[in-house]
Amino acid sequence: MANPIVVGITALYFLGVIAIGWYSRQKMKSATDYYIAGRQIGSVVNGLALESTYLSPASMLGLPAYVFILGYPFWWAMSAIIAGMPVATLLTAAAMRKYGPTSFADYYADRYNDQRLRWLVGVIVMFGAILYITLSIVGMGIFLLAILRFPYLYGVILGAVIVMVYVVFGGMIATSWNAAFQAVLMTIAALLAAIGIINYFGGLAGYHQAILQNSPTFFNTPSDPKPHHILAGTWLGVVGWFFVWHYGFATMPYTVVRFFTVMDIKTARRSIFWCTLFAGIFYLGLEIIGAGAKVMIESAHPLIQQGVVTKGGAVGVLKYYATTYGVGTVTDYSMVAAVEALQNPWILGILCAGGLAIAMSTAAGWVMVVNVLVTRDWADMMLRSKFAKENPVLMARIVSVIFLAVSMVIAINPPGLVLDLSGWAFVVIIAALGPSLVLGLWWKGATRTATWITAVVMFVLHLYAWLYAKTVLGHHSFFFLNPLLGLPKTAIITPHQVWAIPVGFLLFIVISLVTKKPEKEVVDKYCVKLTETL
């Protein structure tokens, strides 16, 4: 049965979101306001909005779930995600703000002097968008289950409708201010839950020892005789996890477009400081929750204490949720179950509100990216649609509804854990589009042909490798060529086929070296001048 305190806190959260959305809507006067908030967002708001948009349910639910599965070595993957934020400051953020485009595809079309690239970039980004909006709706479904105790399916439908209303009537101004509010909320939620778990075990030392007693190999690394899990059982695997998301902040469209919304370059740089400050605290909380989830659930979860679940420990509790409420990817529920075990409705309420916040802001961020790509780049600029030109906001809203509806259907039975969907989207986009973005800014020799070939080859190759590893070998982390090399399928661990990122960069460089260079004036304008005095 739903706890009234948990429901009440969630209701307060929604009132806050509606109030901010309503207030910011009064300020929206043009399509530019809708797409990029009129470039009037300051560093603190943009930094917080960056945090809540970039960090999705893949962070809030998925990272603790993977710490639960892989043990302590996965903390380093989380460290690398946070460290990737400052890396973006000078790598792409400042230059992209100096350039000041409207859409993610603008840079590719201008730098390589080829408008047709809008089609290619759009297709690849949309693949990532569908995965990300899906995982956000999965997150909504899980948190709504924790709040209202109704079947996961209802949560998915209700969650999709909430995001639809939120994005369709808001645009980027509403999402910027709301995302900032949501960032504060989710950071506080994770911190409170982590403090609650540490307190439960009588302090940090007690917490550490409780984990070791419950799971003696938890803190083992590949150098120890018995690693905690095969997927983090080799240093190659640990390094692979480290790099899956590391460069995402610099290259993923839903963060890159946030650099467009700020007032100036100085604000863009400073906003990343605020983002790193809050996101670091948030991740500290998630690391504590993820590591303590198993022992917390097995020590104090009400389902075990009341004798509803009698075998299987923490996994038994998660399976109970799968069979009772229809949660498709049960490990994703481990973080919520750990907080349920605290049996404190105030903390659970704030966590659920924070969870809804992170899911809504991420879905909204991605929907805005595809809105701009489809409405402005494809319909208006490429197809010269009169309807899109005259009704850009209406068309963007129609696009939002279509993407959310498709994602909702996939979310009912998702193809993997939320973090699986996230890693897949990251590696495919970074490998296919990252080289032409980063090297386009920093290397005069980057060419149009290399952009096309790298994007097409790496998109198709990674898609095939990931699906082959997942469906034939049993997990996306097994290197897809293991069988071809005559090795056991688990011999080489490459999470999400992360090898595709360095291969993509290498391919781009090699092709650039042997193909025709772009026009000098284009290179000067979109490479040399953008990166001067950063």
Partner: protein
Amino acid sequence: MPWPPKIFWAGLVLYYGFTAICWIGEATMGWNHILLGPEIYAALLGTWIVPLIMSVIYFYFPEKAEEAS
């Protein structure tokens, strides 16, 4: 040829150097088995403090250079 400013590389050396030292410490001296060791060097320092220092130097020094020019 455009090239990221020196401060960019300094930030990378700071973070990757810190990570490499921690991993070498774990592999050779078992730092991960020290009570609260991982919580301090991987969580507090690696996930928060070191990236935060990077983000400070990445806005502070470019701004200082802009003011000087």
